[in-house]
């Protein structure tokens, strides 16, 4: 039961912090190494981002972000256990120490960064909020949605953006707030609402879940900025750096043309940037408390950012999303990582 779980998490937070005096002494990295696996919070099922298949194997760009961290620490991309979380549960799960990192298409905002005791360790997908509408209502722009009934998932920035957008336009709407994205789609499919709103990347996936996808269409409007990325607890800078730099290494790897297929050949590269990235030169890993070949392991076992994108959400996947602003800065996008040196 959702309620029971939230309460349990609340109590876990209270009791967890109660006994935290002892646990705080060990760093997250030490804890993860001792457990032998990384505990990673993901969605309960969102195609392209994190979703289990029928055998229980998780796939998605958020899942790969976790796997890359595991590969960097253990040299094993499968040393991860996933905790499916609803939007409402995610921050409490991270705060209480139930998970080591949260990679659950979570929007980076000031309030979340500053008041939840969390740190955002970068952006693995630049998103924006859009609308999926039932074609029957005959609307082709969001400004015509006055009076619409709108299905939303609880506990997301979407709820606030929606309210702001309608208020700014002087329009009214009726929100129907569901707990999970499955229920939100079910509500939309059942005709309870005219519009479903969510991040644009999700709309395509949610539309594909409808029994008749052609009955719905995505409006051209984008009403918000949604930079999505991995999150860690505040107060453990080493762990924060690890998650931040594993993601940066993957983005840099794409820029330098290092892929999972050619990583072994690249070990012989003369390019000092690639040498530092793969750990054949310098002690970049040691500075983070990781093996020096952490970059090699992450890229070799999981892939660079472009591979991660293409495999999970790119044009050849059911989601079929173009790189758009998520292309590298050298290719007209805004995906840019600080240098490994």
């Amino acid at each position: 039961m959702r309620k029971t779980k939230s309460i349990a998490l609340g109590i876990a937070l209270a009791v967890g912090t109660f006994s935290a005096t002892g646990a705080m002494a060990a760093t997250t990295l030490e804890n993860v190494k001792e457990k032998g696996h990384l505990q990673c919070g993901v969605t309960s099922g969102l195609p392209g981002f994190s979703q289990p298949d029928e055998k229980g194997n998780w796939t998605g760009i958020d899942v790969d972000t976790c796997r890359a961290v595991a590969a960097a620490i253990f040299g094993d991309a499968n040393a991860v256990e996933f905790t499916p979380l609803t939007a409402k549960e995610r921050f409490t799960a991270l705060q209480s120490g139930e998970i080591d990192m949260l990679s659950r298409n979570t929007t980076w905002t000031l309030t979340r960064d500053a008041s939840l005791g969390l740190n955002f360790a970068g952006v693995n997908y630049y998103d924006g909020q859009g609308f999926l509408i039932n074609k029957g209502i005959g609307v082709d722009d969001a400004t015509q949605l006055d009076g619409a009934t709108i299905c939303i998932q609880a506990g997301t920035t979407t709820e606030l953006n929606l309210s702001d957008y309608f208020r700014a336009k002087g329009m009214e709407f009726k929100p129907i707030v569901f707990d999970t994205s499955e229920q939100t789609v079910q509500g939309f499919a059942a005709g309870r609402c005219d519009v479903l709103t969510s991040d644009r990347s999700q709309l395509a996936a949610l539309r594909s879940k409808l029994s008749d996808p052609s009955s719905a269409k995505i409006l051209p409007n984008t009403i918000s900025k949604e930079p999505l990325g991995p999150v860690v607890r505040q107060g453990d800078d080493q762990w924060f750096n690890i998650v931040k730099w594993v993601l940066s290494v993957q983005i840099n790897a794409e820029e330098l043309g290092v892929t999972s297929a050619n990583a072994d050949d690249m070990l012989k590269s003369d390019n000092p940037n690639i040498q530092r990235l793969l750990g054949t030169d310098g002690d970049m890993g040691a500075k983070l408390g990781l093996p020096d070949d952490f970059g090699y392991q992450a890229v070799k076992l999981v892939g660079n950012y472009g591979e991660m994108y293409d495999r999970n959400v790119g044009p050849d996947t059911p989601l079929g999303l173009d790189r758009g602003i998520n292309a590298l800065w050298t290719e007209g996008g805004i995906m840019y990582a600080p240098p490994v040196r």
Partner: protein, 395 residues
């Protein structure tokens, strides 16, 4: 001269052998430990949350909420505070709970009595109802009513239209909203007058029955007065009431009063589910009244209905009320399943969206738990008072 004092009291045991002192001592230690444990828990939580940079305190209640809620009994819009979202959620919880308690009680009593009916078909139908409903998890029943039944109603444009005033579709039931005009005070006066008259007649009828044994048809006359007097005063005042009719505006209905399907599904499911338990409680209560009471009442010539109403039910109530209280408490707490179908109750609005937007889990969960505790204790209190009123008075 030596002064001699003689202590006549028997020499008591030394304090540490005195059982009263001992028990006081250990009780004091136990209380001290409980308070110390509680203080450590609170203090540690607060200081650890501070060291982790998690906001604490109740200041967030004054901040602007900035999200919409579909149903509000107290005025609300997105520019109001998180504190206001608490009241919106609370009133929505209280509404569905109160509606559920009333419906479940009425239905439960009817089915409980039907279960004992001498009519084979009626008794078996009640049995089937009870066994089916109480053995299916409540959450599934809520989903059934919401997704399987109410979602299959027609879309707004194909609404079921009753006389252009009442519309039913998958967005809800739309009713005309009465708007009182000038002079409606006369109608209120009429209503108050009717109520006073009915109370007066009841007292008079009881006195007369005690004095002369003649029975006055209080119920029929009462209903007639309650219906006729307000209608007459309404006509006299020149029909001071206009109706705000719901109408299709854009792709949804506007105006009038809306009963959203989330409320309807939750109410139906909670009422039916709790009624099946109440029915069994009512049955046990009736069966606890010895058969001799019924036979004595029949011997006096009372018909079946009066036997039930005057002899059996009052005695059965003593057995019924304590477990009935538990069912009411269950119903209120079960109403938090609202969050599964998007009904904006306290858990969905306050412990859902508000908790998530502010991130202050400890405060929000504590407030929510305190509210459910308070509601439950109040229900217990009132039911205990009622229980005392119907319990056997030993003189």
């Amino acid at each position: 001269m030596k002064k001699q004092t003689i202590d006549t009291r028997p020499a008591g045991p030394k304090p540490w052998y005195d059982p009263r002192v001992r028990s006081l001592f250990f009780q004091a230690i136990a209380i001290a430990l409980v308070f110390w444990g509680g203080w450590i828990l609170v203090d540690n939580t607060l200081s650890n949350m501070e060291s982790r940079g998690i906001s604490t305190g109740f200041g967030f209640l004054g901040e602007t909420a900035g999200f919409g809620i579909i149903m509000n009994l107290v005025p609300y819009d997105a520019t109001m505070s998180y504190g206001r979202t608490f009241w919106v959620g609370l009133t929505n919880t209280l509404l569905v709970s109160a509606m559920g308690v009333v419906a479940a009680t009425i239905l439960g009593f009817i089915i409980g009595v039907a279960r004992l009916s001498s009519n084979w078909l009626v008794a078996k139908m009640a049995l089937v109802y009870i066994e089916v409903i109480r053995n299916i998890p409540l959450l599934l029943q809520i989903f059934f009513w919401y997704f399987a039944v109410l979602s299959n109603l027609p879309s707004p444009r194909q609404s079921v239209d009753v006389g252009g005033a009442l519309f039913l579709n998958n967005r809800g039931l739309y009713l005309p909203d009465p708007v009182t005009q000038e002079g409606f005070g006369i109608v209120w006066g009429g209503i108050l007058l009717a109520i006073a008259a009915v109370v007066g007649i009841r007292i008079w009828a009881k006195k007369r029955q005690l004095a002369t044994g003649q029975i006055f048809p209080t119920f029929k006359v009462g209903v007639a007065i309650l219906v006729l007097v307000p209608i007459i005063s309404y006509l006299v005042a020149g029909r001071p009431l206009e109706w705000d009719l719901p109408a299709l505006r854009g792709f949804n209905f506007g105006g009038g009063i809306t009963i959203i399907p989330e409320l309807a599904a939750l109410w139906i499911a909670l009422s039916l589910y709790t009624a099946s338990f109440i029915a069994e409680i009512v049955r046990s209560g009736i069966l606890s009244v010895s058969k001799g009471q019924t036979e004595a009442s029949k011997a006096l010539g009372l018909p079946n209905g009066l036997t039930l109403r005057l002899v059996v039910i009052p005695q059965a109530m003593r057995v019924i009320i304590p477990p009935l209280t538990s069912q009411y408490l269950n119903l209120v707490k079960n109403s938090s399943l609202a969050t599964a179908i998007g009904y904006p109750d306290l858990v969905a609005v306050f412990m859902g969206t508000t908790l998530n937007q502010t991130g202050q889990a400890v405060e929000v969960v504590a407030i929510t738990m305190a509210v459910y505790l308070t509601i439950s204790l109040l229900i217990s209190l009132f039911m205990n008072i009622y229980n005392r009123a119907v319990a056997i008075k030993e003189r």
